[in-house]
């Protein structure tokens, strides 16, 4: 059985194709302003990569904030459910998932079957998510990919008071003008995000094992800050930004076998 999960995220749309329990292909495109087009593009690309035709796909499940735009899917699931399902594929022992994407951070408590027991989502602000790091990287005039490595060179923690991206940028500019080293500022930024995420995680309680997913999980500086804050080991899967798409694909397989449980919107 071949199934597909499509994660229509705020910044990127990810598609992932599985056959049974084997990942055959994955692809990511910028979501842009046309969610439908992005979903189609991601989907078409995984078909090309695998040589599998659309007709051979048994079930497609979408997830993500733009999941309604993926009109061609058979069903959908929320990011919360998809995350819970996807992480167990890699780490069956995980009971807490922290997902930090471009615009949202989520903390999810799950059981051994991937059933969500509780969840929390960050406040109405991107300050606890990836967009914040992008904004701050621009303020520091560095590449986003460099921020994590740079922060690890810092020897001096500097608390950042502002948590709103707008005000935080002003604060960063002030730090720059005061000749604060860039590595210290980078660390300050990532510590601030980690602190916000950690606070959200504590709302639902930390139950080991703990996994980190989403695109921001690729930022080693953020990972370091979050580990320090939470004082737990973090399991980070390969390609953490695809976990939701993977979860959707796995759920698609379940729904293909049990059509009555489809959750179409």
């Amino acid at each position: 059985m071949v199934t597909v999960g499509i994660d229509c995220g705020a910044k990127e749309t990810k598609a992932l194709l599985i056959e049974g329990n084997k990942i055959l292909a994955k692809y990511s495109v910028l979501s842009g302003f046309d969610q439908k087009y992005a979903a189609e593009e991601a989907f078409e690309n995984i078909l090309k990569k695998t040589g599998i035709s659309r007709e051979d796909i048994t079930h497609i499940t979408s997830t993500g904030v733009g999941r309604k735009g993926a009109y061609f899917v058979n069903s959908s699931i929320t990011e919360v459910g998809a995350n819970a399902k996807g992480i167990l594929f890699y780490y069956p022992s995980v009971r807490t998932v922290i997902d930090v994407g471009a615009e949202e951070g989520r903390a999810i408590k799950l059981d051994e079957r991937g059933k969500v027991l509780d969840f929390a989502i960050n406040e109405k602000c991107a300050a606890g998510a990836g967009i914040f790091t992008e904004t701050m990287a621009r303020a520091l005039e560095i590449k986003l990919e460099e921020m994590g490595e740079l922060s690890l060179k810092s020897q001096k923690p500097i608390p950042m008071n502002a948590q709103c991206a707008v005000f935080a940028e002003s604060e960063v500019v002030s730090l720059i003008h005061s000749k604060t080293p860039k590595e210290d500022i980078a660390r300050s930024i990532l510590d601030a995000i980690a602190d916000r995420i950690a606070s959200m995680v504590r709302r639902i309680g930390i139950e080991k094992d703990v996994a980190l997913t989403g695109g921001v999980a690729k930022n080693i500086g953020f990972v370091h800050s979050l580990k320090r804050d939470l004082q737990v080991e973090l399991f980070i899967p390969e390609n953490p930004e695809f976990i939701c798409a993977l979860g959707a694909a796995l759920i698609a397989a379940e729904r293909a076998l049990s059509p009555s449980k489809e959750g179409g919107e």
Partner: protein, 436 residues
């Protein structure tokens, strides 16, 4: 669309509820044309007391007015911006800001100029109440007579004679004050009747809410907002008390005939405090999952008066008349009124968050809920205090909880898309899928 599981039908008394509300606001505005008196105060002010001045005394309660403004998004924005231009902080009570803005703009949300009250009759328990009308006086630039009764004597479970006397003596002082500023002789018999009506209204409303324990629920929370509001306007009037009796009878009939508020009910939730008035559509969205919100601590306890019944469950508090008590004097009327109101559920958790948790857990159990939705309401610091602790307590009691962020009266602070996404996630965690 799947076929409905239960039969539904509109409320017969719905139109009457609308008329009572419309007349209320019209009467307030036109009071002077009839030679009457206008007063303003909070929804928890003891409206039975000014009723002793005569049948031509018309109140406006500030929070329901603020909610009415909030429902009108465009006007609400005008009001909020007017308040901000005047230098008041955006994080103040949004009901209060809507009311103030209306005064500043001299616009009545129901049409015409804002009607200035002849006097202010207020209570004080929440953090905004007393200050609310001090500012109103400043804004109006008039010396409006202002009397405020402090009711913050602690939880009802700790009430004693001294605390009761503290409130009652203020009430007595208030009546002397009313006679002076209104230049009228106070009518104790009118007070007594108003107290009877007050108790009837609030007991009957609790009885209506208790009927939602039935499956299917005969009412849903969105509908209840339009019904409970009458008790926040003038609970001491015979019109409201009689209406609630009619409503109680109709809801009983719905229960007997199995009439549902949501035809596909299969999931039951509750909320906690004020809803985002500009976005009540989220309650209709729940229905897509076959989910009904059976009420909230707010809809139940804002005006409903509750007591533990013989079987240990929550039910309506028996009125003085039901207990065979005949009120004969002013002091007895005031003492009855004070004791009655100090037990109001919504007042209890201003003191301790755990009291809110306890009440919500009781509701969740007795109303057989699948989950609970908490409104992290930026517009009300008083009722949102301790909400994170409430969440933990509810989860420990075994009830799934979702939180959503917003503001009861300021739609700028509500994110509809994100809230819908949270509801989707919550329904999914509860195991319910959309029915379409």
């Amino acid at each position: 669309m799947r076929s409905a599981k239960y039969k539904t039908e509109p409320l017969k008394c719905w139109q009457k509820a609308k008329e009572i509300r419309e007349n209320y606001y019209k009467n307030y505005a036109k009071a002077h044309e009839k030679g009457g008196i206008r007063w303003a105060g909070g929804a928890w002010s003891f409206d039975a007391i000014p009723a002793g001045l005569g049948d031509d005394v018309y109140p406006i309660t500030s929070e329901p007015y603020g909610a009415s403004v909030a429902w009108n998004k465009e006007f609400a924005l005008e009001c909020q911006e007017a308040v901000e231009r005047a230098g008041y902080a955006r994080d103040l009570c949004s009901y209060m800001r809507n009311y103030w803005g209306s005064v500043m703009l001299n616009k009545y949300v129901f049409g015409g100029e804002f009607p200035t009250p002849d006097f202010i009759w207020q209570d004080h328990i929440c953090c905004s109440h007393a200050k609310w009308y001090q500012v109103v006086k400043d804004i109006e630039k008039k010396e409006i007579p202002f009397f405020c009764i402090d009711v913050s004597v602690g939880p009802y479970e700790q009430i004693n004679e001294h605390k009761l006397n503290y409130v009652v003596m203020q009430m007595h002082d208030g009546i002397e004050w009313l006679e002076k500023i209104a230049r009228r002789k106070y009518d104790d018999e009118k007070l007594i009747q108003a107290v009877y009506n007050h108790c009837r209204s609030t007991s009957l409303w609790a009885e209506v809410c208790a009927l939602n324990k039935m499956i299917p629920a005969p009412l849903d929370e969105k509908t209840m907002y339009s019904l409970y509001v009458l008790g926040t306007l003038q609970k001491s009037s015979k019109v409201v008390a009689d209406f609630y009796q009619e409503l109680r009878d109709e809801v009983k009939d719905r229960v007997e005939r199995g009439i549902a508020a949501v035809g596909n009910e299969r999931c039951r939730v509750m909320t906690d405090t004020q809803p985002p008035w500009a976005f009540l559509k989220i309650f209709r969205y729940l229905e897509k999952y076959g989910c009904v919100s059976v009420g909230s601590l707010y809809t139940f306890g804002l005006i409903g008066m509750w007591d533990v019944q013989e079987d240990g469950t929550w039910g309506p508090r028996r009125t003085p008349q039901e207990n065979g008590i005949e009120i004969k004097t002013r002091d007895q009327a005031l003492r009855t009124l004070a004791d009655w109101e100090l037990k109001k559920p919504e007042w209890q958790h201003f003191y301790y968050p755990h009291l809110k948790s306890e009440m919500m857990i009781r509701i969740a159990k007795e109303w057989k809920l699948n989950g609970i939705m908490l409104h992290y309401n930026r517009g009300c610091e008083g009722l949102s205090l301790g909400i994170a602790e409430n969440r933990i307590a509810l989860i420990k009691a075994g009830f799934p909880v979702m939180s959503f962020e917003g503001n009861m009266g300021d739609e700028r602070e509500f994110d509809e898309t994100r809230t819908i996404a949270r509801i989707d996630a919550f329904m999914e965690t509860l195991g319910f899928e959309r029915l379409e």
